[in-house]
């Protein structure tokens, strides 16, 4: 046994410093026995767009498992549609995705029209498509500002709220409702466009494009934003498909699929010159980037629609009391949050027999337990924000 302290000279400060450093290193390298911790996020949290609750089990900063708990806003729309007449159903489904309400109505109306073998006149289809795309713009502008807030950059959301107002004003002046237009009718739309609306809308589209440029500088070009988003929450394309992801979440994973282009729809998308944006990375940054490009693309689509607006009636001939013939139809459209569809079963009554509502956020969020496993706590906010869900769209 040799005495290790034999050579120690307690007056040699250099030697003492060396020993202290060695001891500190030893402590760092020891695998610390940390207790698991359960972190409850929500039901009220700014990142949840409603009342989503996430129970995460943590080991230090690492997420071991995360389980979303829903149902705080379940309103039972599928059951309620069974006791509403077809025109009344649109009032309910307006409130599914409450920032893109107009788009919620369209697939349901199309499904009912398909069963009734009615087709809205071209002018109505153009008005529908224009308002659909404006709803998309208003919806995604909120996301573009909100995502930056989740990462600590508060400025962007104020720009988003300021410029979104121009679009909402236009939606309001055409439909009467800022958030819940309830404007679609089976066979057409309720009213024609008000005077001067087209010119005003075009100038608001220019403002949206300016906003997009601003976001490109302020958010996308920001180093902190990039470093917190790049490589965070990567979803491979096969996983995205298996979980039924849609919209920008799927296109952000490099899947070139857009229902507006790829499905045969009576709406006017087929007449427009536009492009589907994709990004191969599949991370949070790519989802933001795709949505930014889509917003800009949508402004050009609205302008083309207004330039090519056909004249003519806005309603097809439909009976006053609507009874939809027995049958089943499924119509799906590319809504702001992703693919939304209604499976309508009719038995020839005033009310639907059953309506299955397929919402985008439900499937988009179903990947979250898989995606959040093994990430760090601050990335939870990044990932949830980049998936972009509206809680009403999950809970229905």
């Amino acid at each position: 046994m040799t005495d290790v302290t034999a050579d120690l000279d307690i007056n040699d400060s250099e030697q003492l410093r060396y020993i202290a450093a060695q001891a500190a290193d030893a402590r760092v390298n020891v695998e610390l026995e940390t207790e698991g911790m359960t972190l409850n996020i929500g039901p009220q949290h700014p990142a949840t767009h409603g009342t989503l609750r996430i129970v995460a089990r943590l080991d230090g900063e690492l997420v071991i498992s995360a389980e979303p708990i829903m149902g705080y806003m379940h309103r039972g729309y599928e059951k309620l549609t069974e006791v509403r007449t077809y025109p009344q159903v649109t009032t309910l489904i307006n409130r599914i995705d409450w920032v893109g309400s107009f788009a919620n109505e369209v697939p349901f109306i199309l499904a009912a029209e398909e069963l009734m073998e009615v087709e809205a006149p071209p002018r109505a289809q153009y008005i529908r498509t224009a308002l659909f795309e404006m709803g998309r713009i208003a919806n995604i502008m909120l996301f573009l500002g909100d995502m930056a807030v989740q990462l600590g950059g508060v400025t962007a959301i104020f720009y988003a709220f300021r410029d979104r107002e121009f679009v909402l004003n236009q939606i309001e002046s055409a439909t009467g409702g800022r958030f819940h237009p309830n404007f679609n009718r089976i066979g057409g739309v309720k009213d024609d466009l008000p005077a001067g609306w087209i010119a005003e809308t075009k100038s608001s589209m220019q403002k949206v494009r300016d906003f997009c440029d601003e976001m490109e500088d302020l958010v996308v070009g920001n180093e902190i934003f990039q470093s917190r988003c790049r490589g965070v929450g990567v979803i491979p394309a096969e996983k995205a498909l298996e979980y039924g992801l849609s919209g920008a979440n799927l296109r952000g994973s490099g899947v070139d699929w857009d229902l507006r282009r790829d499905e045969d729809s009576p709406l006017a998308w087929k007449d427009l010159d536009w492009k589907v944006w994709t990004h191969p990375d599949g991370d949070s940054f790519s989802r933001y980037w795709v949505r930014l490009q889509e917003t800009r693309e949508a402004t050009y689509m609205v302008e083309q629609l207004l330039d090519g607006l056909p004249s003519g009636p806005i309603m097809a001939k439909v009976p006053r009391i609507i009874k939809v013939p027995a049958g089943e139809s499924y119509v799906q459209t590319e809504n702001p949050l992703g693919a939304m569809g209604y499976y309508v079963v009719s038995k020839g009554e005033l009310t639907p027999f059953r309506v299955k509502i397929r919402t985008a956020s439900f499937s988009n969020m179903s990947i979250s337990p898989w995606l959040l496993e093994g990430v760090y706590v601050p990335d939870i906010a990044t990932i949830l924000a980049s998936l972009y869900f509206i809680l009403g769209d999950i809970d229905r």
Partner: protein, 231 residues
């Protein structure tokens, strides 16, 4: 002019792509394949035996490229057993109280023999073609409905199946995490079943059924008619 239009219509009536898909399912599933229905140019339904449920999904995903899971849901074909009984007294004043004898049970596209049916919708993002697959579960009266879980084929099936399980009471065999998704813990009953009463309807009159809104353009016609009557 008229002849070319006829040709176009004939082309729409046959849908070779969807027929080929239905035939592929029939060849693969054999006895498990029961019925098919095609709306040319728009949609395809097939009905299979519950025992072929997972096989059909595997085949669609691996061989037909239907890698995108759209949704999984269920149907309860039982006619509303309450008739107008569950409506409020105000509704009876307006519509009269109809006889509440339940009508015959009918099923929808591609048929069906049982009260409960499972549905899944699969889609190919390459070919842009979707299929709705139905399977009868339980017996005719709807007792003991059960179906195998699709989680091994599509991981995203989990939440859809939890919803079906709690809302329709259809047992999902092999689901690892059978907890309520939307309903509060300890909730009794399966709300989406037709015999689960919607009690709120009893205390509130049917909203807006009496005053049917005038269609755009129709109000003018009525005004004209009224003018004519006055004159």
């Amino acid at each position: 002019m008229s002849t070319t239009e006829e040709v176009v219509e004939e082309e729409v009536v046959t849908d070779t792509v969807r027929e080929a898909i239905a035939k592929a399912f029939a060849d693969e599933l054999g006895d498990g394949f029961i019925e098919q229905h095609i709306n040319p140019g728009s949609d395809l339904w097939i009905r299979i035996a519950a025992s072929s449920w997972v096989d059909a999904a595997l085949f669609a995903r691996n061989k037909l490229g239907m890698t995108w899971l759209d949704f999984i849901s269920a149907m309860d074909w039982l006619p509303n057993p309450y008739g107008r009984e569950m409506e409020s007294e105000q509704d009876w004043v307006v519509h009269g109280k109809e006889d509440a004898t339940p009508e015959e049970m009918t099923t929808g596209i591609a048929g069906g023999d049982t009260r409960f049916q499972m549905m899944m919708r699969l889609y190919s993002t390459e070919e842009h073609i979707g299929v709705t697959i139905k399977a009868d579960v339980g017996d005719v009266a709807g007792a003991a409905p059960a179906i195998e879980s699709l989680i091994p084929v599509y991981a995203g099936a989990s939440w859809h199946e939890r919803e079906v399980w709690e809302m329709f009471g259809i047992d999902i065999i092999g689901h690892p995490d059978k907890r309520v998704l939307y309903l509060p813990t300890g909730f009794e009953g399966n709300p989406m079943r037709k015999d689960y009463p919607l009690v709120a309807r009893r205390v509130k009159p049917w909203p807006g059924i009496v005053d049917v809104e005038a269609m755009p353009g129709e109000a003018d016609d009525e005004a004209d008619a009224a003018d004519g009557a006055d004159a």
